[in-house]
Symmetry: C2
Subunit: 385 residues, 2 copies
């Protein structure tokens, strides 16, 4: 191995807590922050699980504002509608408790509730000038890894594309990963979000800008998720499976900031924006096909991933790597996820337009180990069809 | 593998930068902090390497106070003498650039320059109430891992024991690990500090309170240091070796907060306090003997470490683990470090007193996979003699 001379920087949450039941404990981490007015962003079905936290914070003198309006794949408009209700409340902290959509909104709210910058001026990398509110994130899926990433992804209502706001200020002060919270997630969502997390790790490890500092998270995340996701899907109460997948998801989130994803995510976005297919499922549909496309450019890396997923070494790296693709297909099948775009009533005629959309996600395509042309994108969609 | 149900929490530096030359870049991370008066704690021989950083900060309007008084293994008195010079200067940030002693002092100075608490009231765990100054740490050895740990270890002049101050407030805001800074470290110091870092990883992985979240750092740290330390000692300009050992040292530092060290460190402390043997060398002298003592209580874990160090699997875990002990002895020998207490003119009669001292380090001994009695401590010192 030769050293990667590129400098890397990683923005970590200042405190990471991990373990079953840790949600109950975070009030004692929040209290020393001296917060007076806190906006809690979550979803209604989770509220019963938050009662102890809410109770402890309120008894500690914190005024809470609870919002459960955000739905899947939110847009800039959804965000602004939410934030407008609280701009005059002098909020000094935001707690996001939910899946990736809730967390992304909470992260941005902590910035925009006290900011002179307009939302549209934040789209892109490192454009946020400051964050004045404390930010706490608790993921309840495993997952987007949003709790550990500097990314917030929203749909722009003007062109219906997913736009990324990426900034160190979007990394929370405190995160709490409580695997027991994921036990009530239904099998199809467990499967889709788990494949999303797996994709984060896979795309970081095979990234053009992969880095040994991040490889340890990526490789271990792949190992944990590949070994445990099917169990978590088949038996939602399997504590061990939930625990390991939640840790893999957190590791995937850590990969997102310094290295990030690549062509799987770029090609998945149009499925979400055009056909409202959940983000995790979109990734799952494309993952094996992008892997097969990429292997010629990074056979050793894909072979290492295959071994981490439990595949035996074959005669050469390419053969081992291809066994990894079969393993991924098997995981998707065992998770009872659809495996073809055609299963989801996507018209085949939409492929050229989706490929056009995907080619615009240059911020991710530049990370891919193999260059993706428009024709390649069309071929990958066709293979996935 | 069954899950570890114990909750874990890790305090990370908010930003970690890693790479050759990153010291040159951190001025751009420090500038947005809006600091006006910064205390730089370092050692005189490093000053030429800091000129660009100092220049950039001063040009940015930061008033700098530079202190190079701290020597190896500082005491509470050394610390207070240093801090007293700056209490009326309204310092708002501290930058520590050096080995573990410099960093520990810098970390504590960032707390004590604006504090109502007395130093003696901070000794122990979680007793610091706040930190008002920004804290930036740059390690120049690899190393103590102090840049990533919540620990500061100083000698108490009353009883001449090493005392630990442990608090999340001692974890820096920003750390910069620039492996090229370690190239001028002489071979003996490279060897001793490298063994210290290796011990951090080894004692975390075999710890009674080991945790999978920390295992990834511990195991990879062992792998990197075992594979590269001898090269770094033999050829200080070996960029790859310096890079990998620096990363291993950082990983070892991350292990220190949530899991920490065990009997090697506890038994090493008396060598430092009584005979002024450098901390890393003290660990190296005891490491193989504590490993051999511990293996019956954790053969699988020690076997995994042996494999990470490049040993082949033997007939059973204990045999593999013992090969790991031989590997450690070989590394120590190849690093040209003394391997016996008797090589260092320590009188054999001091063993009972050292054992007495070591037994007082209960905060570390509780972490050891095998209980250490006073008689065990004496036997280990005798084996190391």
């Amino acid at each position: 191995m030769t050293i990667v001379t590129r400098e890397i920087s990683v923005n970590f949450p200042s405190k990471v807590t991990f373990g079953n039941g840790c949600l109950e404990e975070i009030a004692s981490d929040i209290q020393p922050m001296g917060l007076k007015k806190v906006l809690v962003i979550s979803i209604a079905p989770l509220l019963p699980k938050l009662s102890k936290l809410i109770d402890r914070l309120e008894k500690g003198g914190v005024e809470l504002f609870i919002n459960t309006q955000i739905e899947q794949e939110p847009s800039f408009l959804d965000f602004e509608k939410l934030v407008q209700q609280y701009t005059d409340k002098d909020i000094d902290g935001v707690i996001g408790i939910g899946g990736g959509s809730v967390l992304d909104i909470a992260k941005l709210a902590a910035v925009q509730l006290k900011s002179d910058q307009k939302l549209e001026d934040l789209v892109g990398k490192n454009l946020i000038q400051n964050r004045h509110l404390k930010l706490i994130c608790v993921p309840t899926t495993a997952g987007t890894g949003s709790e550990a990433s500097p990314n917030a992804i929203l749909i722009d209502p003007v062109d219906h594309q997913k736009k990324g706001i990426i900034s160190p200020y979007l990394v929370p002060d405190l995160i709490c990963v409580d695997p027991s919270l994921t036990c009530s997630v239904p099998p199809s969502v467990t499967a889709a979000t788990g494949l999303d997390a797996l994709t984060h790790c896979l795309e970081a490890y095979t990234n053009k800008f992969a880095h040994p500092f991040i490889d340890i998270y990526a490789l271990e995340g792949v190992r944990l998720i590949a070994a445990n996701l099917v169990n978590a899907v088949e038996n939602g109460d399997d504590q061990e499976a939930r625990y390991q997948v939640a840790m893999g998801s957190l590791f995937g989130g850590i990969c997102l900031g310094p290295v990030n994803t690549a062509a799987v995510h770029a090609l998945a976005y149009p499925l979400g924006t055009r056909f409202h297919i959940a983000h995790g499922l979109s990734n799952a549909l494309l993952l094996p096909h992008v892997m097969a496309f990429n292997i010629p450019s990074a056979p050793k890396r894909y072979a290492e991933l295959a071994v981490a997923m439990g595949c035996e070494k074959k005669a050469n790296d390419t053969a081992t790597a291809m066994a990894g693709v079969e393993k991924i297909k098997q995981i998707i099948e065992d998770c009872k996820l659809p495996s073809k775009l055609s299963d989801l009533h996507i018209p085949e005629e939409a492929i050229p337009e989706m490929a056009d959309d995907a080619m615009k996600i240059t911020r991710l395509l530049v990370n891919n180990p193999r260059e993706v042309t428009l024709l390649d994108a069309v071929s990958i969609y066709q293979a996935a069809y």
